[in-house]
Amino acid sequence: MSQLFQGNLGTSFSKHIPVTQYLLERLPWTLMLLAAVMVLVLAIGIPVGVLAARKRGKLTDRIISVLVTLGISVFIPFISFLLLYVFAFRLKILPTGGAYTPPRGAGLAYWLDVGKHLILPAIALTITNLANAVMYTRNSMIEVLHEDYIRTAYSKGNDTKRVIRVHALKNALIPTVTVIGLQIGTMVGGAVVTETVFSWPGVGRLIYDAVNALDYPVLQGAFLLLAVAVVVMNFLTDLAVAWLDPRIRLGGQ
């Protein structure tokens, strides 16, 4: 236990390096992937959810809800295979796996290369999370649009755009933010399948390798990291929700 607090998680059986070092090497890659996913989910999911709520019951809403059902049911290897087949095999515009083309370059060219490798795994991970984000935004937006204060906002002479953006969205976002926060938290260690398919050198791939090598110290470390990530993300989500809705107070009073 005292070793744990000094940052010593033991030594990997298969790699013969300290587990802490091994995890810290992989963590930035996973965080990079998650950042890309989060940006995509927020940037696409919220507008689409709002659109579906405004066109409730119309054709647009129906199409969106069919896509959401498909998105929730999707099997990550399947979507990854499709992406690989189309973009890497047929069109040959994106790489098939890894995080950079082997001799590791430097400077702008290197980062562009990493960015190219990031696109497919990020899209694959985005699709499932996007479906959830759209669904939660749509449902809570529909509820919020029925509230008295929305009618008040309209009757004060605000136009639809302003009512949606300023009055409705902030309240409707609370469930969306909560769900995305929790998902991201579990994904810090949970993107095992995606990272395996695309050989992305993150924590998920590390778990896969460690299981195949029965590397228990690494697994133990990975799980500690996972638990910490979930707790930290829960905390950050609470903060974000409290910022969105000042009525929710963190801690007593």
Partner: protein, 281 residues
């Protein structure tokens, strides 16, 4: 009886639900009857990577085995896994949910906390570790999936029980002196069946997804066919990015998984709309 009739009526008016139900029934028939007609694919033949045609309707894989036969045997595995996972989840989740909802004491608090913990931890990595430790065996995989699916079921049962417990007919049943088990199972569980059924369909859908993920990561049973195992073999052979591309090898099992899950989700959603009177329109 009138209530049941109208529930069925509302269900069959829901087009998506009927579609889902048909899909689920079709998969069940294929999984149960199919293996009687198609021999279990074993060993290897010389017809390697044959494209879909008259001899092999859905082509063959790199060992020359028939994809259609593999899919049919895979359907059986998926059914077996999801039913066993469902039974395990129901056996643990239903009683715990009922008890913790009905008795409001330290024990129910304990169970509730336990459910909370289970729902917060990421499932897949834990399942991976358990599967790695317990060994690759289809029954083990099903048991693990069941063990990881009971918390959501217990939570749903508990929430319904909490609501129903306060109803007047439960009070009436109590004052008539009915035994506790009778009240719990006959009066509460029966009335909580709507959300519980919906959750059970979700358990079956997610069991297939998880089984496929585990098999895909190489933690499935190497002696039986499953859609995840097929994908794993196709992926290991770089089937997605080799040329000429054996698309039937990786596309068919993926489509089966997606169809299975979509059908169960449609069925569950329709069930939710039908059993919840507010959703009827």
């Amino acid at each position: 009886m009138k209530q049941r009739k109208s529930t069925l009526y509302y269900f069959f008016r829901n087009r998506n639900g009927v579609l889902g139900l048909c899909g689920v029934a079709l998969i069940m028939v294929i999984g149960l009857v199919g293996p009687l007609f198609l021999a279990k694919p074993q060993g290897y033949t010389t017809d390697i990577l044959v494209a879909p045609g008259a001899a092999h309707w859905l082509g063959t894989d790199s060992l020359g085995l028939d994809i259609l036969a593999e899919l049919v045997w895979g359907a059986r595995t998926s059914l077996y896994v999801s039913v066993l996972a469902l039974l395990v989840a129901a056996a643990i989740g239903l009683p715990l949910g009922l008890l913790s909802g009905y008795f409001n004491n330290w024990f129910s608090g304990l169970i509730d906390g336990f459910i909370d913990i289970f729902l917060t931890i990421p499932m897949l990595p834990l399942m991976i570790i358990m599967a790695a430790i317990m060994g690759a065996n289809i029954t083990n995989v099903a048991l693990i999936l069941g063990i990881f699916s009971w918390p959501s079921l217990a939570r749903v049962t508990r929430n319904s029980t909490l609501k129903i417990r306060e109803m007047q007919y439960i009070e009436a049943a109590n004052s008539m002196g009915l035994s506790k088990p009778r009240i719990l199972f006959r009066h509460i569980l029966l009335n909580a069946s709507g959300p519980v059924f919906v959750n059970l369909t979700l358990v079956m859908a997610s069991a297939v997804l998880s089984e496929a993920s585990l098999s895909f990561l190489g933690l499935g049973d190497p002696t039986t066919w499953s859609w995840g195992t097929m994908l794993k073999r196709a992926w290991s052979a770089n089937a997605v990015i080799t040329s000429p591309n054996p698309w039937w090898w990786w596309l068919m099992p993926s489509l089966c998984i997606v169809l299975y899950v979509v059908c169960f989700n449609l069925f569950g959603m329709a069930l939710n709309d039908t059993l919840n009177p507010k959703g009827r329109s």
